[in-house]
């Protein structure tokens, strides 16, 4: 099955060589060839690899996917598909549609303050010096078959550049929508570069608009130069037939600050590979995750933090609620290198299992080669607290509502860390909706739901508490 797909990919690569390489400077062409051979050698990750032991791609790779090597000529109703209804949330929206960058007027915009936003393919033409300086520099450190394939195949994606000292005045919202009547295999490649002392808020949404199977293999490289600050949110709300492998590589220089969220609301198979290299002293990374898993969904979060330089801090908090036959994997790996003294690293993973058929695999690893460090990790798997349930029920609240309240409280620890108020409220709403099982019936994507939540969520008579 997988070999069929591999053969298909090899065939298509040769057949569409001209198209794939058409946009490339020689360095990139060379890299493509190299990466393709690497992919052939590494193959798709199998469960025999330690990092993929609990995420089996066999089934989803067995499907017959279609590949497209140029943007599909489709009439896109922007207003319908990319309407964003987060109340009071003013963003600059950029979009990938079925893996291709789409736009109203220009593929690459340079804002007055120097910020460049647009298509990756176009940026490669217009700003090769920036792209080539960073492209594949961070992803190459931890190569697996999938991201090698991405480097070989990917033709487009999003490019963002914030110059030194600039604070991007608007949140950039990157929406990746899948909407095709056939099964798609999408590979996009994104590059975000933050100059010295710059600041950016980036919201990255993955949505699907239909119920077709698709496979997204996306690689994002993000470079944070000295003193820069990035607020990064990933929202994932896909249909249950979709697979999403999202590899993100962060490279942090001195005194840079990263805060990243991975919020997986829905999706057939989601894997977030987060790789963070703290490559300058004084840098800090806050990594948060929330996953709500039910039916036969599978969410896998892999967080690899490399403390390469002294005086860095990292803080991880991942929480998940699992229902039905859902399964989740958490694998946190903190590496503290030899001279990375004065490192502080924390890692927490908490899970609630609601049924006996749900499964959690948690592997919080620490690998430490420096002595003046403070590292700790914790992982728990449990259920809703009986005493708390009893307390709430004894106040006349139905079991159903009590359960919702406790689950919501569990998730709130992550949600409350979102620093943008309108976004926080929206995610809050979505989580409540999701917990009530209403999100699945919503056929639109996350940010399209116009019905704002009522303020009064749990039908609880507060006077009784």
């Amino acid at each position: 099955m997988e070999t069929e797909l591999k053969e298909k990919i090899t065939g298509l690569f040769e057949k569409n060589r001209e198209r794939i390489f058409s946009n490339d400077p020689p360095e990139i062409s060379h890299l493509r060839e190299e990466s393709f051979n690497r992919f052939l050698e590494l193959d798709f990750p199998s469960t025999r690899l330690e990092g993929w032991k609990n995420t089996d791609l066999k089934k989803v790779l067995g499907r017959d996917y279609n590949f497209y090597f140029e943007p599909l000529d489709e009439k896109i109703d922007f207003d319908k598909i990319f309407q964003c209804e987060v109340p009071d949330f003013d963003t600059h929206i950029i979009s990938l549609y079925n893996g291709w960058y789409i736009y109203r007027d220009k593929p690459l915009v340079k804002l007055p303050n120097g910020t460049i936003i647009g298509s990756f393919a176009k940026a490669l033409k217009e700003y090769p010096e920036i792209v080539l300086k960073h492209f594949n520099k961070y992803a190459k450190n931890r190569v697996n078959g999938l991201n090698a394939l991405n480097t070989a195949y990917a033709q487009d994606g999003v490019f963002i550049y914030v110059p030194d000292g600039v604070e991007a005045y608007k949140t950039i919202q990157m929406v990746n929508v899948l909407n095709r009547e056939d099964d798609l295999f999408v590979q996009n490649r994104n590059l975000v570069v933050l100059g010295k002392n710059s600041k950016l808020t980036l919201v990255h949404c993955d949505d699907s608009h239909n119920f077709k199977s698709s496979f997204t293999n996306s690689v994002t490289e993000i470079y944070l130069d000295e003193g820069s600050y990035l607020n990064h949110y990933k929202l994932q709300n896909l249909n249950n037939n979709t697979s999403l492998i999202n590899s993100t590589f962060f490279q942090q220089e001195k005194d840079s600050n990263l805060s990243t969220f991975a919020i997986s609301l829905n999706g057939g198979l989601i894997r977030n590979d987060l790789n963070i290299t703290l490559n300058g002293s004084g840098s800090n990374a806050d990594v948060f995750g929330l996953y709500l898993v039910d039916k036969e969904q599978h969410v896998d979060n892999q967080v690899y933090i490399d403390h390469a330089k002294p005086n860095c801090t990292s803080n991880e908090l991942f929480k998940g609620i699992l229902d039905d036959q859902g399964s989740a994997v958490f694998n946190g790996h903190i590496l503290v290198r030899k001279d990375a003294q004065k490192t502080n690293a924390y890692q927490t993973n908490r899970n609630i299992l609601l049924t006996d058929k749900a499964t959690v695999n948690s592997k919080p690893f620490l690998e430490i080669y420096a002595d003046d460090v403070r590292c700790s990790h914790g992982a728990t798997v449990g259920q809703l607290d009986d005493n708390a349930m009893f307390y709430i029920k004894s106040r006349g609240i139905s079991e159903y509502n009590a359960k919702l309240l406790l689950m919501y409280a569990f998730a709130a620890e992550v949600i409350n860390r979102i620093s943008i108020a309108p976004l926080k409220d929206r995610i809050d709403d979505l989580v409540k909706k999701r917990l009530r099982g209403e999100l699945a019936v919503c056929d639109q994507c996350v940010l399209h739901c116009k019905n704002q939540e009522k303020k009064y969520e749990f039908n609880i008579d507060m006077s009784k508490i």
Binding site: T359, N361, K363, P364, D371, S376, V381
Partner: protein, 481 residues
């Protein structure tokens, strides 16, 4: 105070003090591993047919296996054909009284502080001493027999209690369980066997002492403990080896079976030769230890103090099959100089309402690497199970490594699994507090380290606890800057 000064003296000058070699005539098999050698071992030990079958089956399996490389260890290639798989002190006859034991041997064990003589009665420990691969003497047999307890060398058990061996050997660690267990199953030469009859509380601590003596040999012993319904036993294991420049292989298997309501407490102080300061020589300690809580309300508790060996690869584990069974694992692992350790525990919860606790304390110094690796698996039907794990690491020096690799695998909703771990160095505050009370750095660190390991040390039987505490200080000697 006097005692502490003593410890400190040892701390400051302590080399590996068990590094002597006993010149004793040995019967040694030619180097190499093949079917012929296995048949030779089996024949020398005059084993029944089922044992030979077991060995050959394991050997067949072993040939198809590869040495595992997933651990956080760098293991130099081992030439399994360059090891002699059988070495025994010569002229081993039926030994009735101590007088008949080779005086050289007795002297060796006296040097090790393990008197095989009856004076041991005072401390109330029954000892089975294993020299190279052969059990030389078991003390206290009379007392034990009165209670119906069987405590003897594995070979004797094969001769005298073949039914028990047949029934339980390989039931917890199957012949082909893993690479080293398969190797052991094929070539093991001796070990201890212990059976506690129903309802008996073993009146003394049982103890096995292992020593590798002959050069170019490996030690492959096998221990089997069966605790029948409602019985109790506390079992201790210690080990040493001479200092040699070459590496010696120790691949042992320990199996424990606890039936309904039985309690087994297994303590180890592992002090194989760790190699010299430059990482030359030392024992490779690749051990498979596993206990099976077969009956309901049974309990198996592992306590280990790991200070020796150049490389340790060891995961004492519990299969909690019976409902309400309990598994415990307490460990202090110290690595210094070039030592490497990858150790931890596996708790497999299968029965309902099962409980497990893991407390692991790692201490690394010098340029050593110390890893905790553990698995807690809660299977679907293990309702209301509970696990608590705590794995702390202490780093002394900036060239060593301390790693934690826990695996948590939960498949039902009524169980609770908790894992927590910290890694840190000795806090400056603690050190400062001691210093300003007039306690010098070295002493202060000894104090803090012992306090750090206390939670585990207090689980050890008294005889062992004293030795373990001293060992801790000695192992860390020279690492304190």
């Amino acid at each position: 105070m006097g005692n502490e000064n003593n410890i400190l003296d040892q701390v400051t000058q302590g080399e590996y003090k068990y590094g002597f070699y006993t010149d004793i005539e040995t019967d040694i098999a030619p180097k190499g591993l093949n079917e012929g050698i296995i048949r030779l071992i089996s024949q020398k030990k005059n084993e029944p047919e089922f044992m030979l079958e077991f060995r050959l089956k394991a050997f067949e399996k072993w040939k198809t296996m590869k040495q595992p490389n997933w651990a956080h260890l760098s293991i130099p290639p081992i030439d399994y054909q360059d090891i002699s798989y059988y070495a025994a002190p010569k002229k081993k006859k039926e030994i009735g009284s101590l007088d008949e034991v080779d005086p050289e041997l007795l002297d060796t064990f006296n040097k090790l502080g393990i008197s095989l003589e009856e004076q041991k009665r005072l401390t109330g420990v029954a000892v089975d001493a294993v020299f190279d691969s052969v059990s030389v003497k078991t003390t206290f047999r009379g007392t034990l027999e009165k209670h119906g307890i069987i405590f003897c060398s594995f070979s004797e058990a094969v001769q005298n209690h073949p039914d028990l061996i047949k029934k339980y050997m390989g039931s917890v660690v199957p012949a082909g369980d893993n690479y080293f267990a398969a190797l052991n199953s094929a070539v093991f030469t001796d070990g201890s066997f212990c059976y506690i009859p129903p309802g008996v509380r073993c009146p003394v601590e049982l103890s096995t002492y292992f020593r590798i003596n002959t050069a170019g040999t490996g030690q492959f012993e096998r221990t089997l403990i069966v605790a029948d319904e409602g019985s109790y036993v506390s079992y201790m294991e210690g080990c040493t080896a001479p200092m040699r420049d070459e590496n010696q292989l120790h691949a042992a298997v320990v199996e424990i079976v606890a039936l309904k309501d039985a309690v087994v407490k297994y303590s180890t102080v592992q002090n194989w030769y760790p190699g010299d300061k430059n990482g030359k020589g030392g024992v490779y300690n690749f051990v498979t230890k596993r206990g099976m809580c077969k009956g309901s309300h049974s309990k198996i508790s592992w306590t280990q103090v790991e200070t020796g060996s150049a490389i340790t690869w060891k995961y004492p584990s519990c299969i909690l099959l019976g409902d309400y069974s309990v598994g415990e694992f307490y460990s202090v692992a110290v690595t210094n100089n070039h030592q490497q350790a990858d150790t931890g525990s596996k708790m497999t919860h299968i029965g309902k309402n099962t409980k497990s606790t893991i407390i692991s304390k790692g201490i690394s110094a010098g340029v050593s690497n110390n890893s905790y690796r553990g698995l807690v698996k809660i299977s679907r039907r293990a309702e209301n199970s509970r696990n608590f794990s705590q794995c702390d690491s202490l780093l002394l020096g900036d060239k060593c490594g301390a790693h934690t690799f826990p695996y948590i695998d939960t498949q039902n909703s009524s169980s609770i699994v908790e894992h927590e771990a910290t890694t840190s160095k000795i806090s400056d505050d603690q050190l400062f507090y001691c210093l300003q009370r007039g306690i010098d750095t070295e002493k202060a660190i000894g104090l803090i380290v012992n306090g750090y390991a206390k939670e585990v040390l207090k689980q050890l039987p008294m005889e062992f606890a004293v030795e373990a505490q001293k060992l801790l200080s000695i192992s860390l000697e020279g690492s304190v800057g």
